[in-house]
């Protein structure tokens, strides 16, 4: 083989083929033989690299960038978080030392209600002073009363949250929402009460909960049961459900079963932090089931909707889409 022509093959093979170890060593040798060779090789590789035509992903990546900023910056943009967590730590410490400090501390912070807010497009987790774990879904707010303690366990929720409550039969844990209160002892459950959703609900995963509506109705839930209300009529509906499906969001998945189109749109808006608008009344009557892992982009989700239902979409603005009814 002609040695001078050889480097052409080696370089082409290095860039776009299978280079054996022997070839690799020969190429390496050739490159280091002279500065001209090195320059030629690097120049050609650069030309090769620069001519790559690949999908440009800047829109999707810009969204991802802002999402990442939002989730990383939470302690800074929501200083109540830091304050709340330190207050919880102080309360715990107070409990360890004894009752004297405890009463002093609670009177000191009496006026302030701790408020934890998770913006659209992210989710968050916190532990309360008694060890109760709360996962807050996107666009949800949890308010913890200033004298929250192992004896008085009361929180207020707008939005959606999953609770893992520390067991204590004598001191029930209460979640207040606009339309109902949930009373529990030791249990895992989910509460969804976004004001703008038509359906609000509570789902029980473990233990036992008691639900009291504003109309003084009392409903007991068993594990695997979900109680939903139509917000306008407050008519209750009790159903057996699959817990994995209902609580998928806790693990970063997005599964929905037979939900109204309008509620699906609101969930997508919260989940992806986008605006979705639509005009057609025909869309309202549709009911959806499906699942997404949270790896999908909003574009992929919209494409999936487009494929499976009479819907088309167009981008209106940054993070704004319009959905159009298109009978098949």
């Amino acid at each position: 083989m002609n040695k001078t022509a050889d480097h052409e093959q080696l370089i082409a093979r290095y860039l776009n083929g299978n280079l054996s170890e022997e070839d690799n060593a020969r190429l390496f040798q050739w490159i280091h033989k002279s500065p001209e060779n090195k320059k030629q090789f690097l120049g050609l590789k650069d030309t090769w690299d620069a001519s790559l035509k690949t999908a440009s992903r800047e829109t999707e990546q810009l969204l991802k960038f802002y999402k990442r900023q939002a989730s990383q910056k939470q302690p800074r943009t929501f200083p109540s978080w830091v304050y709340g967590l330190s207050a919880a730590a102080i309360l715990l410490l107070g409990l360890l030392i004894g009752g004297i400090f405890h009463s002093g501390l609670t009177s000191g912070t009496k006026q302030q209600v701790e408020s934890f807010y998770v913006p659209q497009g992210s989710r968050s987790e916190l532990t309360l002073a008694d060890g109760t774990k709360v996962k807050l879904n996107a666009d949800s707010r949890l308010e913890v009363s200033p004298d929250y303690s192992t004896k008085k366990r009361l929180v207020r929720l707008t939005g959606e949250a999953y609770f893992e409550v520390q067991s204590d039969v004598k001191n029930p844990f209460t979640v207040q929402t606009d339309k109902f209160d949930v009373l529990v002892t030791g249990t895992k459950f989910n509460v969804s009460s976004h004001a703008e959703d038509r359906q609000i609900s509570t789902t029980l995963s473990e233990g036992c909960v008691q639900l009291r509506t504003n109309n003084k109705e009392v409903i007991l839930l068993k594990p695997g049961e979900k109680i939903s209300f139509d917000q306008r009529t407050m008519k209750p509906e009790l159903k057996k459900v699959r817990i994995e499906t209902e609580l998928a969001w806790v693990n970063g998945e997005f599964i929905f079963k037979e939900i109204l189109f309008s509620d699906l749109i609101k969930r997508l808006e919260r989940w992806y932090d986008v605006r979705l608008s639509y005009q057609s009344k025909d869309l309202e009557t549709m009911v959806y089931s499906g699942s997404f892992k949270n790896k999908e982009t909003i574009w992929q989700v919209l494409d999936a909707l487009k494929l499976t239902s009479p819907i088309d979409y167009k981008k209106k603005n940054f993070r704004e889409f319009e959905l159009i009814y298109k009978p098949m």
């Binding site: 776009n16 650069d46 800047e58």
Partner: protein
């Protein structure tokens, strides 16, 4: 659109392609580019003028790739592949500029378009369609060695075209400067 969004849209793709020079995995390359923009975001570098900002972006992505490769080296089986990549990174660190940084990517595609048919074909199949040399040989029904030689020559021709064009731009720029001088005199 905010300045930051514009900056992101202007440079994201070039930085991504630049990172792919050194890091083969697309997801890793995207992550590295994200880190670079985080740096800009947090350090409020937006006030820099365009040229400096661009240089800063490319320097940052290069450093990010270098760091990544250093960590990878431990687990890499192909030390010499890494060796070539590192040699390349040092080359650019010492001031050499990549075409990706110097040129608008659209102009590179234009230059590819103006190549001879045989050369254009082999670049389009490998760089646009993602075919390996062997697959190109099968598709065109020519020996593998021929494809390799064509690819080498096509890249050489493209490189020449691009440096020629850059030279022209440089010349035009000089002429312009002279004219301005004459006018001001």
């Amino acid at each position: 659109m905010s300045d930051f969004d514009t900056l992101f849209k202007n440079y994201h793709h070039s930085l991504f392609v630049y990172a792919l020079k050194f890091v083969a995995d697309e997801e890793v390359a995207l992550d590295l580019v994200q880190d670079v923009f985080t740096l800009i975001w947090e350090k409020k570098k937006l006030k820099l003028d365009d040229e400096h900002l661009k240089a800063y972006l490319f320097r940052s992505i290069r450093n990010a790739c270098l760091n990544y490769l250093k960590h990878q080296q431990v687990v890499s089986q192909y030390q010499q592949f890494q060796g070539i990549k590192e040699m390349e990174l040092l080359y650019y660190r010492d001031g050499e500029q990549s075409l990706i940084e110097k040129e608008n990517l659209d102009r590179i595609y234009q230059a590819i378009h103006s190549l001879s048919d045989i050369h254009r074909e082999v670049i389009e199949l490998s760089r646009f369609e993602g075919l390996k040399n062997k697959e190109i040989a099968e598709a065109l029904n020519v020996p593998l060695r021929t494809v390799e030689t064509r690819l080498f020559r096509a890249l050489s021709a493209l490189r020449e075209k691009l440096s020629e064009k850059l030279f022209h731009i440089f010349l035009n720029f000089c002429c312009l400067k002279n004219k301005v001088k004459k006018l001001s005199n």
